[in-house]
Structure formats: structure tokens, C-alpha cells
Symmetry: C2
Subunit: 211 residues, 2 copies
Amino acid sequence: MARSALTRDGVLDTAAALVKEHGPDALTMRRLAAELGTAVTSIYWHVGNRESLLDALVERTVADLGTLRPRGGDPAERIVSVAALLRRALRDRPHLVAMVHERGLTERMFLPAQRALIHEAHAAGLRGARAAALVRAVQFQVVGHVLVERNRERSPTQSPAEPDLWGADTAPDTAAGTDADPELAAALAAPIDTEAVFTAGVRALVAGLLA
Amino acid sequence: MARSALTRDGVLDTAAALVKEHGPDALTMRRLAAELGTAVTSIYWHVGNRESLLDALVERTVADLGTLRPRGGDPAERIVSVAALLRRALRDRPHLVAMVHERGLTERMFLPAQRALIHEAHAAGLRGARAAALVRAVQFQVVGHVLVERNRERSPTQSPAEPDLWGADTAPDTAAGTDADPELAAALAAPIDTEAVFTAGVRALVAGLLA
DNA sequence: ACCTGAACACCGTTCAAGT
DNA sequence: ACCTGAACACCGTTCAAGT
């Protein structure tokens, strides 16, 4: 990759790819150099050191979240589309997003999405504190959902498995929680179509907030 | 610390303290050995290696979240108290919680809180899907809030500062978002008493879900 | 202006050896 | 059963030296 002249951008590209695929720990200066086909020390000339390299990747990620184009016929649809685009963006680069968060730039990363949401809230006739509440609610919903979703994907077999946890045939103290409520047990134990849950949740939330 | 005979528990105590205060990266085997006053290699006899040491710390954290005693006169109050206790527990050990999350044990960590919430939902007469919705909603609210809160504390001076972002005197494209809505701008720009926001939010959420 | 290898101070881990 | 130091293969970083 990037066989020709070594560039700062080239270094960042390869570094970003490495982090996206294997996480920040996999980004060692020696491995990056090997990937780029240069000496380890050449990298330092272009990006300073490892820390500022990571900072640059974080800056890039924040910028990437700035390109957000809502779609849909009415404000409610467009708000849902913002949420969906945000979810997609966060899911695509979990490690980089985590790095943004570690550096305290989460709020700045969410700014473009916030602006889009404000715009749609106004278009829907919502103003002031109610518009602010909508912005925060959607943002929290998306972030929370992505966190839960990532977690589920990384450990498909929960320990202990959820059916065992919520089933009616388990220990007495479990019974106190769910035994008398099989519908609840089913709701919490069933395999989840997370994308469906996501859109349904956001749609309901938005409907409620615009009502 | 732990001057006498080296114990597995003693190693874990010191390691946990190190992680709580300085994060997992600060937990090097050599530093831990220095803190314990032993040879680096002695630690290996007690805990295997660094990875299983971290695993043990994660197990401890999951167990710590298991001691959750709701307080309050009615279900709504007790649900709010569960949320508050959960928030406190997550805030007290952010690094350890992050490690739990990385290992895909987040759901197991939240199980005791979920059981408590289910119990209170039932006590309030909520059953089935509505009870499940309450459990998830409260959990998301707490996690989302703690994430935002942590982020704010770690970077008290946001870049760019929020007043500049939401004020009426900034660039045209900002105006498109907020200029016509000073109350919204104020709501999003004002310094936040996060604890007040938290309890107010949870109270409103619970009231809405129990109504 | 850009790239290099040698060298430094770290790191986790293994292992043979002690008691 | 428990602890130790030496040694290994890593790591980020500095620096003097090359072109």
C-alpha cells in the first residue's frame, strides 16, 4: 500500500485502515512501517509520534461525521434518517469513535448531526426546550443503541445465555423477577433484529416528541 | 501496600486501584510488582499473566454491580434510585466498566439492575412488553447519561466552546440551526448541572412509562 | 526535504534455579 | 508452594548520519 513517495496522508490512510480492522493496539509503529514498506523512523518525520498520529486519525473521524445528508419527505422521516446515518457512521468505525471519545471530542463529533436535528425540529414546528430535548433524546438513543448492538455482536453467545437467564425454569430469585410474566421473559429473551428495534425505537421516539 | 505474604487477592486489589486511578495502560507488570514490593515474575505465579489478571478485575467489577439495593416509598422512587445507584457505580469505575464492555460482558453486568427494575415494574402494575420497554429505556438512559457526563468532565473546555457554537452571533450556517430560536440556543449552551439533568430525566422517563 | 539504522529505555513472558 | 533474576522478543522514541 502507498508504494510510491511516503506522504502524511498515506501514513494516515494505512494507519486508519489498521485501526479500523484490528483496533488501536494493533497500530504499532513497526507494523505500520512494514505495511508502508519504509523504515520505522520515516513515519516520525511525517506525523511526529504515535500520539499525534492517533490525534490526526481522531480529527479525520470528526470530519467524517460532518458529511451527513438527511433524506425523507417530512421532518419525522428526515430525523429518522439522521439517526440511521449516525448509527451507520458510528458502527463503521467503532475503534476510531472510541478514540474520539477518549479524547473528549464526542460532543464536537456530534455537532453536524445536532445541527441537522435542530433544523428538522424547527421544520416540524418544535422550538426551544422541546427542540433541545428532541436533539438530546435522539442522540442518546443512537449512541445507546450502537453500544448495545456492538456488544451483542462481539459476544453472540452471552454468558450465561439469555434464554437461561429469562426462562421460567431457573432459580427462585429469577422467578421473583420474571416467572409470573412470560411475555416479559419472551420480550427480553428473544433473539433481536437490532436494526428493526433501532428504527422502531427511533420512529416511536420521534413520533412521541413531535406529538 | 500488601507488605506481608503475596496473595492473589492482594495482587488484584493493587491492580484494581492502579486501573481505577490511572487506567489500564498504567497497569504494567513491572509497576504492579514495584507497588507490591515483589519481583515481577512472582505475580505470574498468582494470576497467570496480564490478560487473565485483567479478566479477574472484570469479573470483580461484574460482581460489584451485583450489590444493588433500591430505596424509596413507591415503585417510581425505587426505579429512580436504581438508576441513581447504577449511575454512581458506573461513574466510580469508568476504566473497569470499559474493560467489562470490551470483553462483551456488559449485559451480564447489568443483570442485577435489570432484575431490580423488573421487580419494580411489576410492583407498579406494568407487565410484558411494557415492562421490558421500561427496563431497556432506563438502562439506556443511565448508560447514555454516564457517557455524556464522563465526556464533559474530562474535557471541561470543549473545543470550540459551546457558547460560541450555539450563540446567535456566529456563522450563517449556525444561524440556520439556532439563530431564530434563542431559547433552544440557551438550552443547549447553558452550563449543565448534570446530576439535576439526570434525575429530572429519569423521573420524567419513569413517569411517562408508568402513566 | 526526506529517509535510514543503531541505540536507549521500556514492555510482557518464559524458564531454570532457588527456598 | 512460592519466589527470584536472567534472558528473549517486543515496543516507542531519539539521534547522528546519510542523500
